[in-house]
Amino acid sequence: MNIEAVLLWIRGPGLGLALGIFLFGMAIKLLEIFLLGRKKNLAAVRSSGVAAGFRTILSRSLPPDGNILRRPRFTFIFGYAFHIGLFVVMFFLAPHIEVSHALLGLSWPALPTPVVDVFTIISIIAMMALLWHRLTSPLLKYLTTPQDYLVWALTFAPLLSGYMAYHHLLLPYTWLLSIHIGSVELLLILFPFTKLTHAFTLFIARWYTGMMAGQKGVQS
């Protein structure tokens, strides 16, 4: 089996498998969360909390008090750099948009490749900084579980291989493209079974927190 056949498998059956497992796992994950249920709030609320819930979904993406240099500065700066970088790379590189177009029929304008490239570098640097922080900060060392390193690696691999593929580093493009798509598939497969689910469940978490605080008249 040569690399061309590997790429073909990765772009075809492999992707189907990964998507299937991803959706399988996420469906389980979300149903498990929602079927647990919660008690209705019987207290006389100040508002329904709906608006507050939506506001919290949005506001927790912004730095507290609009100040990105808040303490702990390291986590804030590199946390934002990584997530923004990843977001731009994921959603604004033309080939990535084509995937969405093929799978969902949705597409939108792409950013120029060199711009995406800069964001990739930002994201890669930020991820390495965050890893270093995790390995050295006493607080984070204490909190970190092996899974934290696993999800770091799962996220880092597509970024690095994508960057290397674009710049033809080390290996032929076909190899790198295979590794890149393969690493994304690995990410998809393990996504529902690790804390990577936060990318989806944080909206549920923010919603409940915002809504419950909103009912008490606090914008959380």
Binding site: L36, L42, A43, L202
Partner: protein, 428 residues
């Protein structure tokens, strides 16, 4: 007679885990930001005091019992069961090192309401018999004597007499059909009797009818601090029964943070039905009176004053602007702390911490956060609206040789009430 067991504790915990909890645990990425929002971490730098870490047994239980992957792992013998030793260890983190102040819940980037979950964790810890002795004692007194500090009706009546002597105002007991029914905290009755007099004067000026129930005057609720809903419900029920018996329109929660949380927000959920009356914090009532022009004050305070936000009242209770409106009424030189309002730092003694003897050292350490805030402000005094915060701050200031008066907001307002033309009594 049933006793606390590990099984009962685990059962109680499992009962508590709900959709938000599952969403919260699914979202945490161990970023550590909640630690930096928690004064027990910032003042000790002990990573075990990271808020989300205080929930580790509960997170594991959720994973093992309520997720497919966790159940499979448990099945294969890979799951780590929850043990008594572990709960014992976590009891220290969840009771002594958490005031349920809710600051972590405000900063979590994925939006986890960590405080919401620690409240639930205490439900399991207390059912398993791992609640601290201090809180068990307070709770037992609350249920058996009607007050966590053992304050009886007699003591209250004695204070009422003092008020009458001081101001000539009657404290109305068990009057039916009044607009307001006033609750008090034991601490106010014993340590800060000025509050009762202040209330009497303010309502007298505003010409509002009010009463105190001799059957349910205690506002504090140790049940929600220890985290036992069954007990908390019993205590709430006493107030509800009294309010419905006296047919009052509004029950007023006193200057006490968690009492407000207990009766205003948890109350209906604890007894399982909405209330037939309104519940307001005294500051909400006073601000309403101010708006209606029924709160006539004169003169202002001389010094530079700041306001300490009681967590359960402000961040967790939603009474944010009212204290500021009232402060401005009588304080010219009112300065806010950095991080004031819903992001203010806790005094370090809420959530039952003040009732736990073993927590004294860490409680005073935690106060350093407030001390730092205050030393930056250069204020002459501090105003707050929670007797528990007040005691902690007074103690902390003394410990740190900082000389500064700590006053209740209601009292300050009462001090500035416009004197009536007629009517007896002398007032400051």
């Amino acid at each position: 007679m049933s006793k606390a067991t590990l099984e009962r504790g685990i059962n109680a915990l499992k009962e508590q885990i709900d959709t938000p909890t599952a969403a919260f645990f699914s979202s945490c990425v161990n970023c550590g930001l909640c630690a930096h929002a928690c004064l027990f971490y910032t003042e000790t730098c002990d990573p075990a005091k990271t808020p989300i870490h205080k929930l580790e047994p509960m997170r594991r239980l959720w994973e093992q019992e309520y997720t497919l992957t966790g159940r499979i792992r448990k099945w294969l013998g890979l799951g780590k069961p929850i043990t008594d030793d572990e709960l014992e260890q976590w009891s220290e983190l969840a009771y002594q090192n958490c005031t349920l102040c809710g600051r972590c819940s405000m900063v979590c980037p994925v939006g986890n309401d960590i405080t919401y979950m620690i409240r639930k964790l205490r439900e399991g810890l207390s059912a398993a018999g791992h609640a601290p002795d201090g809180l068990i004692g307070a709770t037992t007194r609350a249920v058996k004597l009607g007050s966590p500090m053992g304050v009886t009706l007699k003591a209250l009546e004695a204070q009422a007499k003092h008020v009458k002597e001081d101001s000539g105002l009657d404290i109305p007991f068990d009057v039916e059909g009044t607009e307001y029914m006033v609750l008090l905290s034991s601490m106010e009755i014993i340590n800060y009797p000025e509050y009762l007099q202040a209330i009497a004067k303010i309502f007298d000026q505003a010409k509002k009818t009010w009463t105190i129930s001799s059957e349910a005057f205690e506002a504090t609720n140790s049940g929600i601090q220890i985290g036992t809903s069954d007990i908390a419900a019993e205590l709430v029920q006493r107030v509800v029964d009294a309010a419905e018996k006296l047919k009052v329109q509004t029950v007023i929660s006193p200057e006490c943070g968690h009492a407000y949380m207990a009766i205003r927000w948890e109350g209906p959920n604890l007894i399982g039905r909405p209330f037939t009356f309104r519940v307001q914090h005294i500051l909400e009532v006073l601000d309403e009176l101010r708006e209606q022009g029924l709160l006539q004050v004169e003169g202002v305070e001389d010094g530079r004053l700041t306001f300490h936000d009681p967590c359960q009242l402000v961040r967790r209770g939603g009474v944010i602007e009212q204290p500021r409106n009232l402060m401005r009424l009588v304080v010219d030189n009112f300065v806010e702390m950095k991080d004031h309002g819903k992001m203010n730092w806790c005094c370090g003694a809420g959530g039952g911490v003040s009732a736990i003897e073993e927590a004294e050292e860490v409680r005073l350490k935690a106060f350093n956060r407030k001390k730092k805030q205050l030393s930056k402000l250069h204020v002459d005094g501090l105003v707050t609206a929670c007797a528990n915060c007040r005691i902690q701050i007074e103690e902390g200031l003394e410990e740190n040789d900082m000389d500064m008066p700590v006053i209740g907001l209601t009292e300050i307002l009462a001090n500035h009430l416009v004197e009536k033309e007629t009517g007896g009594g002398s007032s400051a």
